[in-house]
Subunit: 409 residues, 2 copies
Amino acid sequence: MIYVAIMGHGVVGSGVAEVLRKNADSIARKAGEGIAIRKILDLREFPDLPYADCFTKDFEEIVNDPDIRIVVETMGGLSPSYEYVKRCLETGKSVVTSNKELVAAKGDELLALARKNNLNFLFEASVGGGIPILRPIDQCLAANEVTEIAGILNGTTNFMLTRMIEDGMSFEDALALAQQLGYAERDPSADVGGHDACRKICILASLAFGKHVYPAQVHTEGITAITSEDVRTAAAADSVIKLIGRAVMQEDGRLYATVAPTVIAKSSLLSDVNDVFNGIMVRGDAIGDVVFYGRGAGKLPTASAVVADVIDEVKHLKARKYLFWEGGYEGYVIPHGEGTVQMLVRAADTADAAAQIAAAFGEVQAVSGDGVPAGDVAFITPAMTESALDAALAASGLTVKSRLRVAQL
Amino acid sequence: MIYVAIMGHGVVGSGVAEVLRKNADSIARKAGEGIAIRKILDLREFPDLPYADCFTKDFEEIVNDPDIRIVVETMGGLSPSYEYVKRCLETGKSVVTSNKELVAAKGDELLALARKNNLNFLFEASVGGGIPILRPIDQCLAANEVTEIAGILNGTTNFMLTRMIEDGMSFEDALALAQQLGYAERDPSADVGGHDACRKICILASLAFGKHVYPAQVHTEGITAITSEDVRTAAAADSVIKLIGRAVMQEDGRLYATVAPTVIAKSSLLSDVNDVFNGIMVRGDAIGDVVFYGRGAGKLPTASAVVADVIDEVKHLKARKYLFWEGGYEGYVIPHGEGTVQMLVRAADTADAAAQIAAAFGEVQAVSGDGVPAGDVAFITPAMTESALDAALAASGLTVKSRLRVAQL
C-alpha cells in the first residue's frame, strides 16, 4: 500500500479524494499497488466525510510522516504552496500538483530539485484540466521538433466569446451569464485579463522547447476590450475571435510568446472549440498539426488527471520520469513589439481612409460585408513587426477603433 | 549507443530511418543515449542511400545479432511479420511496430510474450498515424473508467466522404480522385470496405477495456454503398456521414463494437474532421469527452510515432512499460444484431408510407427539406436492437432505399 497526502480539500482536492476512493480497485490494478489517503491538509473541518479522520491543519504532520511517499498539492496560489512543495521534495516525497501558478513561476526550480533527489514532480492537470497534453508533448512527440504550440487555454473566456459570437451578447452580458453559471469568479480578472491562459502557455512552452518561460516574459492581453462590433467584423472575414495562447520558435532560437484575443479562420479546427472547452494545437516538423480537445476545467476531469499522475508516480517510485526543462533567461523570449504579426484593423471610414491605408500599408486585404459596422472600414495588414505596425497606424491619420492580431492556426 | 534494426524499408520504414538520422542529436538527448541503425531488412537493394551497407535480405542476421536491442517492424501484413516479431521477442529484443493488422490479430499473444521476457512491445503508430492516442488512453486516462471510444480512423475513406459531402461527388468519382492523389490503393478494398478501420478499433478497444477484441468479432460495413442521396439526406438532418469505428462498454460487461458509415450531428466535433485527417473521441466517467485530432497516415507522422516508441524503449530497456491487455473470448463482444441502434431510414414515399412507418415504429423523428430526394421519405427510428429494427423494416411494407446508423458523438 502506498500512502499519499492531499494538501487542500477544495474543488480539485476533494475530487482527487473522491476518484481515489471510488475507483480504488481499478487504480490499484493499474498502479500495481493499492493507494490510500493518509492525510489531508485543510484549515476547514469536514466531520461528516467518511475520511474525516485524515484531516489535519498542520503541514508538519505530512512532511514528517515517512510513510507518505507522494503528496498532492491542490491548494493553489504561490504561498505557502511553493514552500510546502519544496519541503516535500527536500524530504524525499514525490509531488503531483494541479497548480498552474506554481508551475509557471517555479517549475524549473522544482523540477531541478526533484531531479537532484531522484523524485518525481508531475503536473498534467495544470494545463487543459483532464485533457492529456503534457505527456503527449513530452513522450509521443519525442521524435518531432515542435515548432509551435497554440491553444484555447481558458474555458471561462471561451464560454464568454462563444456567447458573444453565437448569440450576439455584449462582453458585460456574457460575463454576467458566466458568473451566474459558476464558470467565472466574482473577481474574473485572472480569466478575462488573460493571466490564467498566460500561465498555461508558459508551462506548455517550457516543456515543448526545454527552457522555462516566465509569465512576465509573455505579452498578455485579455478580452475585456472585445466588443460586439469586433466579433461581427471578424465574422465578415470568415473568422472568429478566440483568446489564444501561442508560442512560436523563431529561426534564431528565440521564442515568440503571447496571449491575446486572436482572429482565426472558421476553417481552423480551433475555431470550433466552443463554450468551456479547451483545444490545444501542437505543430511538429514530422507530425504536422495535432489537436487535443476536451473540458479544460471541472472537478472530476482535473481530479482524474491528478490521479493519473499519482498512479504514474507509484509506478516510478524508484525511477525518475522524463519530465524536465532548464531555467529560462532574459532575451530568450522576444521583447513585445519585435514579433511579426498581422492585424485585423477597424477604423472610421472617412473620405481619406482608403488613401491613408494605402499610404501606411501598401496593399491590404479588405474586409467587407454586413458584419463591418456602418461608417467603419476594415482590413488585414501585411505581416510586419508589431512596433512597425503600431507606428504605421499611429502615423496614418486613421481613426483606429480596434486592432486584433490574426493567426493561421 | 543503442543499436536497432528496421524490418521493411517501405514508406514507413524509410521514414523511420530518415527521422532517426535527421534528428539524431535531439533524439539522443531525449533518449539519454545515441540510437544507431545496425541492420535494415528488405528484399530490395538501395545502393545509393548513405546507409546502404546496413541492408540485409536475411532475417537471421538481425535475430542472431546480440548487439541489436530493439527491432522496428514496418513490413506490414501478418506473415512473416508475426513469426519475425515473435522470434525477436523470444530472443530478448524489444519490438516497435506500426503494423495494425499484426496487433489487431496477435496483440494479446505478443504482449504476453513481451511481458514474460521482460521486454517491451509498443505500437503507437498502428492507430492514428502520428496522433498520440494509445499512450494517453493507457496512462493519462488511468484514473478514468473509459465507457466509449469512437473515431474516424481511416483517412482515405474520410477524404472520399468529405468530397461527397462538400463537392457532391459520387462514390466512384471520389474514389478515382483519391487514387489519383495517392490516398487510395489501386485495390482500395481494405479502406473502403472498413477493414483498416476495424483493425484500429480492435486495438483501441483492446487497450481501453483490457481484453483483446479480434477483427472477426466486429461487425464491419464499408462505405461502398453510400450514395449522394444518402449524403444529402443526412444533411437534411443537420448531420454528416462519417465512417465511424466505435466500441461501447455495456452495463453487462460485454462490448458493442462496430465499424460502419454513421450519421453524426454537425454539432459534434468529429463532424469537422475532414479530408485525410483522423479524429478519435474517448469518453471517460471522470474526464468527459476528449478528442485527439491529426493526420492519421503519411510517411513522416507515422515514422515520428515509431521513433517516439523507440526512444521510449531505450529509456525502458531494463523495465517493462505499462501497455498490456488480456486475451479475448467468444461472447465478450455482442453478436451482430443484439446491439441497440437508431437508424436514419430513407424509403419510397408511397401513399401508404406514413401509415407503414407509424405502424412499424410508432413515433419517429421525421427528416425533411431540400436534401431528401424527391419521391423519398426519411426518418430516424427510435432506439432498438438492430435485429428488431431490421425485422420491423422488413415487415413494414416500406420500399427501403437506405438505412444508416445514427450516433450521438
